[in-house]
């Protein structure tokens, strides 16, 4: 099963894609995706319900978040009321170790994303802040990465023994599915996703042309 773990809809301030249009694009272009996760910036979108769209398109549409820490941006999967109460999602300077610990405590998982990106990726900060305890998974393939940013992320994962996932970081329709994560087992809901991410039966895949 292949899921794009990192995407943004118009609910993010810089997102220009409607969720319906992502679905149409995936089906029309026959992309090898079984679904995607919406990870809106600095917020938890509790309201949106995509079950009808899932039924209509046969795609798995899950929700997460992308928050900002002193190490850069971090994807959160398995966001629930407890985690929303524990973290101020709107902050730009959340302490990464607190995000990781809170996610773990609340049954979620934190995944630093685009680690190779300057300023908002963790590679650059490891030199000055040192490694962050508790990190298990990072985004090694990001569809919006430039130059050698993904290579740097892969090197970081190899150095620290992190598992790697992939996501497009799509903000516009045509970017969905550029990178994704291939899971050995089926994922039906966010609980399945968190459970699988805690294991190791998956790999990051790239479909960038």
């Amino acid at each position: 099963m292949i899921l794009d773990l990192h995407s943004h809809s118009i609910r993010s301030d810089d997102g220009r894609a409607k969720v319906e249009n992502y679905c149409q694009w995936i089906r029309k272009r026959e992309l090898p995706l079984d679904g995607f996760v919406l990870t809106e910036h600095r917020q938890w979108d509790a309201k949106s319900d995509y079950r009808k769209l899932e039924d209509e398109t046969g795609l798995c549409i899950l929700k997460g978040s992308e928050v900002e820490t002193e190490y850069g941006h971090v994807l959160l999967f398995g966001v629930n009321d407890d985690l929303v109460a524990a973290l101020d999602f709107s902050r730009l300077d959340l302490p990464l170790h607190e995000v990781v610990a809170a996610a773990d405590r609340c049954g979620a998982i934190a995944v630093p994303c685009h680690p190779g990106r300057v300023t908002v990726g963790m590679c650059a900060h490891y030199g000055t802040l040192g490694p962050c305890e508790g990190v298990q998974v990072i985004e090694t393939l990001n569809g919006g990465s430039r130059g050698t940013e993904n290579e740097e992320a892969i090197a970081l994962a190899e150095q620290y023994g992190y598992r790697g996932v992939g996501g497009s970081d799509a903000h516009i329709v045509s970017f969905i599915g550029r990178c994704a994560t291939k899971f050995e087992r089926e994922i039906r809901d966010i609980g399945d996703l968190v459970s699988e991410l805690r294991g190791d039966a998956y790999e990051a895949v790239s479909f960038k042309e």
């Binding site: 301030d13 910036h41 600095r42 900002e68 850069g72 941006h73 709107s90 730009l92 990106r117 300057v118 300023t119 908002v120």
Partner: protein, 156 residues
């Protein structure tokens, strides 16, 4: 960040600071549509029974002032981060639109270039019957790191 965003929001968001009336002429609609590469007759041919302005037409307008009087950040202190147009109804030749301006939102985020401050300037357009035409959100972005660095280096 050296700006208290929450205070800035509390002080300035949601308060109308400008209002202008703008007549809409067929010739200008056609010129705008052609400049955008539109080919549909309803946007390019005034004799079309459904002749109207293209959806993004109101994004061309600006008010009497870009930012409220005494607002601590003026438009020349940042750069354009794009416009988003939400269309509510058709704009026709001969209409007179009223454009009301407010600061809709102020927020921060981090990106490759560091901390950024975004100001969302909203213009709400209605026609002469007070029917909603469109809402245009224009984002102004200011790179906080570069401003601070310049200040610390003694530059303006």
């Amino acid at each position: 960040m050296d700006i208290d965003v929450n205070q800035l929001k509390e002080d300035w968001c949601g308060r109308q600071f400008d209002e202008v009336q703008i007549p809409v002429a067929a010739k200008e609609i056609v010129e705008f549509a052609q400049a955008c590469g539109e080919t549909a007759a309803r946007f390019t041919d005034p004799s079309d029974p459904d002749f109207q302005a293209p959806p993004s037409y109101t994004s061309r307008f600006h008010g009497g002032r870009a930012m409220p009087k005494d607002f601590p950040i003026q438009s020349h202190q940042g750069f354009d981060a794009g416009k988003c147009v939400h269309v509510n109804g058709p704009l026709r030749a001969g209409d007179t639109v009223t454009a009301r301006s407010e600061i809709h939102d102020i927020y921060t985020k981090t990106g490759r270039s560091g901390n950024m401050l975004f100001i969302v300037h909203r213009m709400t357009f209605t026609n002469q019957n007070e029917e909603p035409i469109s809402v245009v959100d224009w984002r102004l972005v200011q790179n906080q790191v570069s401003r601070k660095s310049k200040r610390e280096a003694g530059q303006s």
